[in-house]
Amino acid sequence: MELIKEVAFERTYDASPETVWQAWTTPELLKQWWGPNNVTIPECEVDLRVGGKFYIVMEAGEAMGPYKGTKWPMLGEFTVVEPNAKLSYNAKAWTEGQKEETTIDQTTELTLTAENGKTQVKLTAVIHKTGPKAGMAVQGMQAGFTQQLNKLNDFLTAKK
């Protein structure tokens, strides 16, 4: 079995690096896409400089059923800030009220490269440490996204 503790992604977005950078670093924009539809972002702070704070709180809405009202804060610190090119931060994410048990300690690195009017995005997330119940926190957040995908799926199926 592979001993990985790192996940890596490569995507190409139909937008300029400036637009992608704005989406990643502007609180008002982050609020629009960071969480799934049925999750709100009541708090988001971005102090865009090395050593600056990156704080996002996700809150499960009505549609999340058993998770409703659950808050998942993430508090990080930027280690690399190269506008429109590279962003890196160390962060802890947890489920409110269960910080000890659910904390995920991680480093995320984002690289943006312009490519024929589009932007290639490389994202690496390395997990350093997890609390014993961190898996539950991930599942909770994940439940929101799954619902969102199901919704999209229903919508597409209904159209046929």
Binding site: T19, A134, V138
Partner: protein, 113 residues
């Protein structure tokens, strides 16, 4: 909802060390005695024992006694739990990146108007 076991607690911490990852890789192929493992490294026996302790606490390995020797074996369940967890974490990011894509598409359309 699937309850994740406490085993996950120290798994990722244990795997952060290259020597420990190496040891785990070796014992994942076959069970080995502590002496056999130590022979692969230019480290003191005590240092190897310490690494094994960390892996043992994370329940990544099990130790059994065979005569005078201690035999180290991998505990596949713990790795399975960790790998499962990582899969979900990966999915979370996949979905978030999809969400960013939808967001950018909407932003683009607004820009064209």
């Amino acid at each position: 909802m699937v309850e994740h076991s406490d085993e996950l607690d120290s798994v990722f911490g244990s795997l952060s060390d290259p020597t420990r990852r190496g040891i785990l890789k070796k014992v994942s192929k076959k069970s080995m005695s502590v002496g056999e493992i130590a022979a692969h490294y230019q480290l003191t026996f005590a240092a190897i024992a310490k690494h094994l302790d960390v892996l043992h606490r994370a329940k990544l390995i099990s130790k059994t006694r065979r005569g005078k020797e201690q035999i180290v074996s991998i505990s596949p369940n713990t790795l399975a739990v960790a790998s499962n967890y990582l899969e979900e974490y990966k999915q979370l990011w996949e979905n978030r990146l999809d969400s960013l894509d939808r967001h950018l598409q909407v932003t683009n359309k607004k820009g064209e108007k």
